[in-house]
């Protein structure tokens, strides 16, 4: 029986003949019918608007409106401003630190859940425990750190109560520290999910074989587990990285006005209706993010790994 070919879209008629003539579609046409809505929605709502602000970024503007033009002044202003460099550097710093922490925690938590937890039910409960805070608004989860880290906050009280410190620690809140803590709190799950998915696909027999062949724990980890979970690592890294670069709220709320994020600077321009410079700013951020993401995706062909 050539059942495989038939499963791919065209089907031999077995039952009673139908009232209407059967429509036979090529497999690729079926695929396009299925993927069409997705492609259409993303094209109209994502590709077109992005093209639009690419165009607007070359426009001229003054206090009353924006005017079609082709000028590079918006970009020149942006690149020549020291504030731009500063805010990109600061965002990059946060992105790298948060990426390293979420990768370490996310990978190890995912490894624990997939390989060490023996009962499927316990694993499911643990996964849900990781996911439940995600259901509370990110804004509320961010400001939840304020009573926790503040001068009279729960953390300082606990430290002083335990006699570890005499006076409340000041650096905990409205600092780079609190920004990073909030990011890690918000985004670690984005690492755990894809990595756990990759780890779950690894055949345990492979790991046993490596152990039997005399590999130490560390060697098995470096030579077997990590290479096989690359897809999840890259996907998680891309998600965390882009979330930090695109952050709008956390830096604003948690740095106490000491740092700005790229997007919060941009939103100030949008609120002032200065669309062309805002669009130029947006284009630079998009290009920057795209280059970083493309670089990460080069490490592993995420598409091939995901679809196979």
């Amino acid at each position: 029986m050539s059942s495989t070919q038939e499963a791919l879209g065209t089907v031999r008629q077995v039952g009673p003949t139908r009232a209407w003539p059967r429509l036979r579609l090529a497999p690729w046409m079926v695929s396009w019918l299925q993927v069409g809505p997705l492609a259409l929605i993303l094209f109209v709502l994502f590709a077109l608007p992005t093209t639009l602000f690419l165009v607007v970024s070359f426009f001229d503007y003054d206090r009353t409106g924006i005017y079609p033009a082709f000028m590079l002044d918006n970009y020149a202003d942006l690149v020549n401003s020291p504030a731009t460099i500063r805010v990109y550097l600061s965002s990059m710093k946060f992105a790298v630190i948060v990426w390293a922490i979420t990768l370490f925690v996310g990978f190890n938590v995912a490894y624990f859940l997939v390989f060490h937890v023996r009962s499927n039910t316990v694993r499911m409960v643990f996964f849900l425990l990781c996911a439940i805070p995600f259901w509370t608004s990110g804004i509320i989860r961010t400001i939840a750190w304020i009573p926790f880290l503040g001068r009279n906050g729960a953390f300082n009280q606990a430290l002083m109560g335990a006699g570890i410190t005499d006076a409340p620690l000041q650096f905990l809140l409205f600092s780079d520290f609190s920004v990073i803590v909030a990011y890690v709190h918000l985004f670690t799950l984005l690492m755990i999910g894809p990595i756990a998915n990759s780890l779950a696909k690894i055949d345990p027999a492979l790991i046993e074989a490596a152990r039997d062949a005399g590999g130490s724990r560390w060697q098995v980890m470096v030579n077997v587990v990590i290479p096989l979970s690359k897809t999840g690592i890259v996907l998680g890294s891309v998600l965390v990285f882009t979330q930090v670069m695109g952050d709008y709220f956390v830096v604003k709320a948690m740095s106490g006005g000491q740092s700005a994020s790229i997007v919060s600077a941009l939103s100030t321009e949008i609120q002032a209706m200065q669309y062309p410079p805002a669009a130029a700013n947006a284009m630079v951020l998009v290009l920057f993010t795209a280059i970083m993401v493309a670089g990460m995706m080069r490490i592993v062909d995420v598409r091939k790994e995901l679809v196979k």
Binding site: S3, G9, V11, G15, P27, W28, W32, Q34, V35, P37, L38, I41, L42, V44, L45, F46, P49, T50, L52, F53, V109, F112, L113, F115, H116, R118, M124, F127, C130, I132, P133, F134, W135, T136, S137, I139, I140, R141, I143, I146, F148, N152, F155, H185, P204, E208, R217, T242, G246, Y248, I262, L266, I270, L285, V286, T289, A290, M297, L306, V307
Partner: protein
């Protein structure tokens, strides 16, 4: 979620030291995750004259009452209703479109790479910029931005790529011989989809629907420039933070978490029951 045979290494009763080390890390992560949440749950019962920080000045439920009290600067119940309605619509559209796309990607087709990278680009695009682009477009054509047009569209650019990625994971675990068997037994493509493919994928599909609902319900940056006049709950919360902070915000957090536990409880029960029924059916057949 990651159901299947036990994946534990070894399988002997003695745990390696790494188990304890990673277990400690997991426990630490849980404390980190729930510590500040616990602080807001406690503070939502703050006394009437208390503020947003410790110490507690008493115990009261006024902040919960505040949520529903009319005549406040923010209308939380209405915005909550709008958020729920929007999240429900986003969730339905995302599920249908993402499941269809997930099925499509199971075989190669011309343009599949382009569609895939379009989805990835949409996913990694800084959120506010998507809203900016859509808002700009609406302004250009003099359309009125509103919750269920531009707001809905902006959210789909976020939930759809997530849904598609999740569907990849779901269809990857799907054994195609089930479909082949259905075809061999004379099922039409529609019957095969309706009675074989979709039921087997159902737990994953429910996961996609829930994920999309959550992402939409919590979405802030994409919605803010596309929403028009009426706020969703996250925007309302944001407005509240900018104007005046009161423990009412924490009360909202507590209520949200309570609702989440309820929704998760119901969903998990559904999935477990589905799995049990399926296991029973397999036993009968086997």
């Amino acid at each position: 979620m990651l159901a299947g045979p036990s994946r534990t290494i070894g399988g002997t009763d003695r745990r390696p030291w790494t188990f304890y080390a990673l277990g400690a890390l997991f426990f630490g992560y849980m404390v980190f995750l729930y510590g500040p949440m616990a602080a807001i749950y406690v503070l939502s019962f703050q006394g009437e004259n208390g503020g947003v920080t410790f110490p507690m000045t008493g115990f009261s439920l006024v902040w919960f009452a505040d949520i529903v009290k009319p005549g406040q600067m923010a209308n939380v119940p209405d915005s909550f209703g709008r958020s729920m309605a929007l999240a429900a619509i986003v969730s339905v559209i995302t599920t249908v479109v993402a499941v269809a796309a997930g099925l499509a990607f199971r075989r190669p087709f011309p343009g599949s790479g382009a569609v895939f990278y379009l989805a990835v680009a949409s996913l990694v695009m800084p959120s506010l910029l998507v809203g900016f682009g859509i808002g700009l477009g609406f302004r250009l054509f003099d359309w009125k931005a509103s919750l269920f047009t531009s707001g809905l569209g902006a959210q789909l650019t976020w939930t759809l790529p997530f849904g598609v990625l999740a569907m990849f994971a779901v269809v990857n675990r799907f054994n195609r011989s089930w479909e082949e068997a259905a075809t061999d037994l004379g099922a039409s493509p529609w019957q095969r989809l309706r009675h074989v493919t979709l039921p087997i994928l159902m737990p994953g599909i429910i996961g996609v629907a829930m994920g999309a609902f959550t992402l939409s319900y919590d979405e802030y940056a994409r919605t803010t420039l596309t929403i028009g006049q009426k706020n969703t709950l996250p925007l309302e919360i944001y407005a509240l933070i900018s104007s005046a902070t009161s423990p009412m915000l924490f009360a909202i957090g507590t209520v949200t978490t309570g609702l989440s536990f309820l929704i998760i409880g119901v969903t998990v029960t559904l999935i477990l029951r589905m799995q049990r029924r399926r296991a029973a059916a397999t036993l009968k057949v086997g």
